[in-house]
Symmetry: C2
């Protein structure tokens, strides 16, 4: 008797938070422990190893997102409970959207159940380590022009800068994309003070973590790569006792 | 012999996530369980009651943020381990910034240790329930003009709209602030299609939860209040099988 033929499979889109197990939610841990199959980018799988002993694990390299999604969806359609993991939150530059798109495109909606398990986004975990830079309105922008035209990214950066929102940057640089962060910095410095506080968080919650506070003028002197997120303060962001603080506006 | 005189107190700024215990992080639960004193807005204290049995609890009403912060800081300065709780993430319109500001202003930096414990922001939990609306760049804007001038808020909304970012709205309306969301909707509809998908999440993860998907033209027909967050799609956001999806740009 196989349960699989009787019961619909489930695809869980699981956010594992920035990297430290303590920042995973109770639900994401429970889902990983109770599923049959875990699918994810190799490095993210390593981060959750304590929770997935004995599971079927399907891992793959960078930029294989469509393949990973399709594999996870196929396993769920066979009746399995499948966790497809994303770092941070699966809904912020993670796998949630792509998985939903593929399910719709392939008309598989009725063949599986889908649950999105939110996680602490990397940028919010970075903010906690840097102080309280996101206490006022903020924009979240990816500098990767692999999927979004660079002109669109520049337009968003420009509007965010003009409106004095704090700016959070994902995917600032990779081995193949090195000029985007330089161009972004040159553009932003036209709108914001040179000494605007900037926070850099690399490998947050993981081996080799570095958290740095610098300024808009000096930020390019530090190592920035694809495991770095960046928070650029607004006109009110200050640096106090080594912490970035964007005031909410309370009169104290 | 009192340990309190030997050991520095700690102020933990704890994010408890949207409301459902399963969306709390392992760290936030551990911190609540291990602290001496819990300080928070009455309704948030109720949400974490299972974790704080036997603790000293100091709760107060809305808009008493400065009082709550000061109380929590004072207890930590007396050597206590104190959790000051925020819903969602303490760094997103929560208590982290205010607490850091008060500690600096009162020159208490050396009298206590401070740790910020991030949580799943309410808007990211809302996104997970709505589908995957935040898969591309987004802006997070509070409509409360108690602490930010309305002109600044309108400027940010306008820039966010013009740059085609998804827009996340906190504090859309309260019993004393009812016109702001109407003005915001009138303004946004000048820039975005009337049928732009809009998601409303009320009392997320709490008693009386409602999650609604509607359109920019129709959104004001639904109940909106201070326990509601709103996600307004961009030009590419679609509605499929009752889920909002903002494509990341993958060719599938």
């Amino acid at each position: 008797m196989t349960n699989n033929k009787l019961q619909k499979g489930v695809l869980f889109l699981v956010g594992i938070g920035p990297g430290d197990h303590r920042d995973m939610t109770a639900r994401s841990i429970a889902v990983l422990r109770n599923c049959d199959v875990v699918v994810g980018y190799r490095r993210y799988i390593e981060l959750v190893e304590p929770f997935i002993a004995g599971k079927e694990v399907i891992s793959s390299g960078m930029t294989r997102e469509i393949e990973r999604c399709s594999t996870a969806i196929a396993a769920a359609c066979r009746g399995k409970k499948v966790s497809l993991i994303s770092s941070g939150d699966p809904g912020v530059y993670g796998m949630a959207g792509l998985a939903l798109e593929i399910v719709e495109k392939q008309k598989l909606r009725h063949k599986l159940a889908i649950e999105i398990v939110p996680g602490v986004p990397v940028i919010n975990a970075a903010a906690a380590r840097l102080g309280a830079p996101l206490m006022n309105d903020y924009a979240v922008i990816s500098l990767s022009d692999l999927l979004t035209p660079w002109e669109v990214i520049v337009k968003r950066l420009t509007h965010a800068a003009q409106s004095d929102m704090v700016i959070c940057i994902y995917n600032p640089k990779s081995s193949k994309r090195s000029w985007q962060i330089k161009e972004a910095q040159s553009m932003l410095i036209q709108y914001r003070r040179k000494d605007t506080p900037v926070g850099l968080a690399r490998n947050l919650g993981r081996k080799g973590e570095t958290v740095t506070i610098t300024t808009l003028a000096r930020m390019l002197r530090y190592k920035i790569d694809m495991v770095t997120v960046i928070i650029i303060g607004n006109s009110t962001t200050t640096l106090r006792a080594g912490r970035m603080i964007t005031p909410r506006g309370y009169k104290i």
